[in-house]
Symmetry: C2
Subunit: 133 residues, 2 copies
DNA sequence: TCAGTAATGATAATAGTTATCATATAAATG
DNA sequence: CATTTATATGATAACTATTATCATTACTGA
């Protein structure tokens, strides 16, 4: 009988490792550049594929913020983000989760509400003081 | 002396009118289909251009929710949204805005925080009861 | 009526992501 | 350890949503 277990490849290993090491919330291509340093023959498709896979496995998070590109987070704990509307940089926000807020709005729209996400917007330190991002 | 006033064209007029009439938060191509009924020769580019323009003028809002496509809102009042993670539908949430929440996190990340956005997620009525969206 | 300029429609280009497919490789089996 | 086989990979094509280009159209004011 064949196993249906998924494999741990060196690519997966390095991708998750680099994602966790990144202080920023990298886009797929930003992470690709990092991973390339350790695996020069890696494909961008592999990075995309595994970011998707890691998210499905609950080992990483796809954070849906505004902006064209998706960003990823190696920190799977529930937390909020702030995004710079000038350069797109995303940082963590140290704020307690709003508790029970989903129940408060559960009735009014007919939706079955299961979660919420707060995205603060503003200017990052670099963009605040006129310097190029 | 030449005027630098911007023109109200019939396309603009109809686009804003249809956007305001839409109960959903349409994507550009959804709105394009609506506008086409009244202006059969309209171009999709014109819809994109004017949705952008209307947003800049403060006559409409570009709502940055998750999902691939941008959505637009003819209701320019500040309010939160809930998005169906199955079909992408977006509805308004009847909840008072969180007050002073931006100040509470202003220090912790170095960002100059100027706004926030809450996106609730869940299942819309149609997706809740097994029926096709 | 005319000149000047902004907007339009058609379409090309771009960006980001996903799909395809031949080859490589991890892990189960013997 | 060698064999088998399903999964993962790398290269690249295809796709989707959006933005840019540009010749033409049509407001607007003189
Ligand atoms: Mn984070
Ligand atoms: Mn709305
Ligand atoms: Zn910035
Ligand atoms: Zn739905």
């Amino acid at each position: 009988m064949k196993s249906d277990k998924l494999r741990i490849t060196s690519q997966r290993d390095v991708i998750l490792d680099e994602l966790r090491a990144a202080k920023v919330h990298p886009t797929a291509d930003e992470l690709y550049e990092q991973v390339r340093r350790r695996l020069p023959r890696v494909s961008l498709a592999t990075v995309y594929r595994n970011l998707e896979w890691l998210s499905e496995q609950g080992l990483a998070r796809k954070i849906e913020v505004g902006g064209r590109q998706k960003r990823f987070d190696g920190d799977i704990s529930d937390h909020y983000h702030v995004r710079c509307h000038k350069c797109g940089r995303v940082a963590d926000v140290e704020m307690d989760l709003l508790d029970g807020v989903e129940d408060r709005i559960a009735q009014c729209c007919g939706f079955t509400v299961t979660g919420h996400r707060i995205e603060f917007t503003g200017l990052c330190p670099a963009c605040s003081n006129g310097s190029a991002c």
